[in-house]
């Protein structure tokens, strides 16, 4: 794969406009990718530097290319992996037992065939690099500052943590990018989220983004690209920044971005597709310019204070319905959406979340399936046992994460605790690969969506951080992870 390293200056750049108005990070990346700027009549033709494919949203796009006799324009800017409908049960994955969902297995074979036929690099079932598409892009160093990155998946915003403009597209657009490496796009509006202060101990990036979504609402970012800024964001590791950007779509925003800095560069250096030698030095210089200019205008600005945040958990059926884990189910008697959500969840307004029994705990997904997430969960579980009545599934985000977790002894902590240690994939986040939560069961999940039926028909999802999820696994009920870490929960069953 040979990704372009020098995005050209487009006619949309300030130099050609006569006035150099201060620009946001988003504007800088957008303008460098305008093949044809937008007009009143037509959207911009936007160039895409990296196209990521997976098995669920690509088959119909390849069929379209075949039907129209079109070629793949830039196989060298395209990467594919298997994650969504891929089994995480090692026996199924390795073919020792039949795959539970036969149609899913067909979909896997279809992507293998399409990649062979069109010459796309596939991180396939036996690849040591395979994993969730949004975990492996950054691992491979294919996710870089300033790039435009798309994928037929709404959590593509994850890659924005590196200062890329990354967003999810539908299957028609997957075909557009396959055939032309471009998309027709109207310029979105910009929303700055200024998170100041510092996350308190026991409070994670997941809690921060749940608090942000709770604040602006599940439609609060619609039509916007979010830029996360401020001291609380700058203090985050790359894994944590990815958790934040990942859930931008849960606030309605197609993309979330964070300006690259030394944390970004240190993470990228030496990765498979990262520039090397002189090219690395040049890249760093270019990337350092990728931050918002002082005085750059945002269409909207929201401030949030990180210091007072607590571990969060959702109680309803969209990610905006969250409270502190120590809180109670809110009362909103005049809101039919709220009433319907509580009925689905089997919860009553005013009742505390702490102490409510759960049957399933899921640690994984593109939101919280990276090594530091597994570390958070392991810190809580170390030397303890998962409660007898709880099924705990730990699913690493990639083969790389899996190896790393095994090398660090985390996998052993999970297995010794009685959790299932699985092969990488989307698993229970989407429930289309055999991993599902049963009707009516409560699952504390580190994934990103608590929609009705998301984890299986009738499943009741409570979104939380890996620490909160592990704490629930330990006690069999919703528990404040800070109490476990402080030794206030005996935890030995």
């Amino acid at each position: 794969m040979s990704l372009p390293s020098h995005p050209p200056t487009s006619p949309g750049d300030a130099a050609n406009r006569g006035t150099a108005h201060p620009k946001t990070l988003f504007e800088k990346v957008w303008e460098r990718h305008e093949v044809v700027p937008e007009t009143a009549d037509t959207p911009a033709v936007l160039y895409i530097d990296l196209h990521l494919l997976h098995e669920v949203t690509s088959p119909q796009a390849f069929s379209r290319l075949r039907a129209q006799g079109l070629k793949l324009r830039r196989a060298d800017l395209t990467l594919a992996t298997l994650d969504h409908s891929t089994p995480t049960d090692p026996d199924e994955l390795l073919g020792r037992v039949p795959v539970k969902v036969e149609s899913a297995a067909r979909q896997v074979r279809e992507l293998e065939k399409n990649c062979r036929e069109f010459g796309v690099e596939l991180f396939g079932l036996s690849s040591p690099q395979r994993g969730i598409v949004h975990v492996i892009g950054p691992e491979l160093g294919a996710t870089q500052p300033g790039r435009t990155i798309v994928c037929g998946d709404s959590h593509t915003a994850t890659h924005g943590a590196f200062g890329a403009l990354a967003f999810g597209i539908g299957t028609s657009e997957v075909a557009h990018v396959l055939a032309t490496q471009c998309l027709l796009q109207r310029r979105p509006k910009t929303l700055a989220i200024e998170a100041d202060g510092r996350l308190p101990p026991g409070v994670t990036a997941k809690d921060l983004i749940l608090a942000i979504i709770g604040r602006i609402g599940v439609g609060g970012g619609t039509g916007h690209v979010i830029e996360y800024r401020g001291s609380a964001i700058e203090a985050l590791s790359m894994d944590e920044r990815m958790t934040v950007c990942n859930m931008s779509i849960e606030a309605g925003a197609r993309a979330g971005m964070i300006a690259p800095d030394q944390t970004t560069f240190d993470d990228l250096k030496g990765r498979r597709y990262a520039p090397r030698g002189l090219a690395w030095d040049e890249a760093i210089e270019r990337w350092r310019a990728l931050r918002g200019d002082p005085g750059a205008h945002f269409d909207r600005v929201v401030h949030i204070e990180a210091n007072g945040l607590e571990p969060m958990i959702t109680y309803g059926t969209h990610p905006g319905m969250s409270v502190s884990v120590t809180g109670v189910v809110p009362e909103r008697s005049d809101d039919p959406v709220h009433a319907r959500a509580l009925a689905y969840m089997g919860l009553v307004a005013g009742e505390p979340l702490l102490g409510r029994p759960v049957q399933v705990v899921f640690v994984g997904s593109c939101t919280n399936g990276r090594i530091s997430d597994l570390q958070l969960a392991a810190n809580v579980l170390r030397g303890r046992r998962v409660a007898n009545e709880v099924r705990m599934l730990v699913v690493p985000g990639s083969q790389h994460v899996k190896r790393e977790a095994e090398a660090r002894g985390l996998a052993k902590i999970f297995v010794d605790a009685g959790a299932e240690w699985r092969e990488p994939g989307c698993s229970m986040c989407i429930g289309m690969n055999g991993d599902v939560v049963a009707q009516g069961e409560y699952a504390v999940s580190t994934s990103n969506r608590n929609f009705e039926g998301r984890q299986g028909a009738g499943a009741r999802t409570l979104l939380a951080s890996p620490a909160t999820a592990a704490a629930a696994a330990l006690t069999g009920c919703i528990t404040d992870p800070r109490d476990v870490l402080a030794g206030a929960v005996p935890g030995a069953h």
Binding site: P4, P8, S10, V35, V36, A40, D41, T42, P43, V45, Y47, V56, T57, P59, Q60, S63, R64, Q68, R73, S85, V101, S103, A104, R106, Q107, E110, G152, D153, S154, T156, G168, I169, G170, T171, S172, A175, H176, A179, T180, Q181, C182, L183, L184, V218, G219, T222, G223, I249, R254, H318, P336, V337, R340, G431, M432, R449, F451, G453, R454, A457
Partner: protein
């Protein structure tokens, strides 16, 4: 894509806000490799009970819903995933337009590429539509209007290029392919 000029139909109302793509078509039906036949799975978990029998109280299962092409839904319709299976399912079911006060970005984009019209109206028009399920409405793509049977006419925003594509049945891919020279120039500049 078929050209779309006007839609005249009675409405079906699903008043809930934030109807996400997992409700429009649950993930377990996404293991298909074609885009056909998804209409049977539209709103599957709301339409059918655990045994697969239709729920009589669900709006789409009522006799008066048969043949309706316009879905009126609560705020922030289509939030969630990027699955184009959502508009495919609604179109295959028979819908040609979705009316709400707010429609999620990716769902909106996907809909326009398939000839499913996203219609965003003001609160008062929306309120009237929610209160009058089965109302006979007329939607005009060219004028960007939705006419109610009480004589009032609401305007809805439709980006100019999207309108042009809908009215002429033009597919965006054809338009992009015609930009091949500009794309090649951009690529040359980026590698030089």
């Amino acid at each position: 894509m078929r050209a779309l000029h006007t839609i005249e139909s009675r409405t079906v109302v699903l008043a809930a806000a934030n109807i996400d793509t997992d409700q429009i078509v649950p993930a377990r039906f996404l293991t298909t490799t074609t885009q056909d036949g998804l209409g049977q799975h539209a709103f599957a978990d709301w339409r059918y009970d655990a045994s697969g029998a239709p729920r009589a109280d669900f709006a789409l299962n009522r006799p008066e819903a048969a043949g309706c092409k316009v879905l009126v839904a609560g705020r922030n319709f289509g939030c969630g995933s990027s699955r184009e299976h959502a508009p495919w399912a609604l179109l295959d079911y028979g819908f040609r337009a979705v009316v709400s006060t707010e429609i999620a970005d990716i769902f909106r984009n996907n809909s326009l590429k398939n000839g499913l019209l996203p219609v965003v109206v003001d609160e008062s028009t929306h309120g009237w539509l929610l209160a009058h399920p089965g109302a006979a409405v007329r939607i005009d793509v060219e004028g960007g209007t939705l006419a109610l049977p009480n004589g009032s006419v609401a305007q809805f925003p439709l980006e100019r290029f999207a309108r042009y594509c809908l009215l002429n049945g033009i597919d965006e891919l054809g338009f992009l392919l015609q930009r091949a020279e500009a794309i090649a120039r951009y690529e040359q500049a980026s590698t030089s």
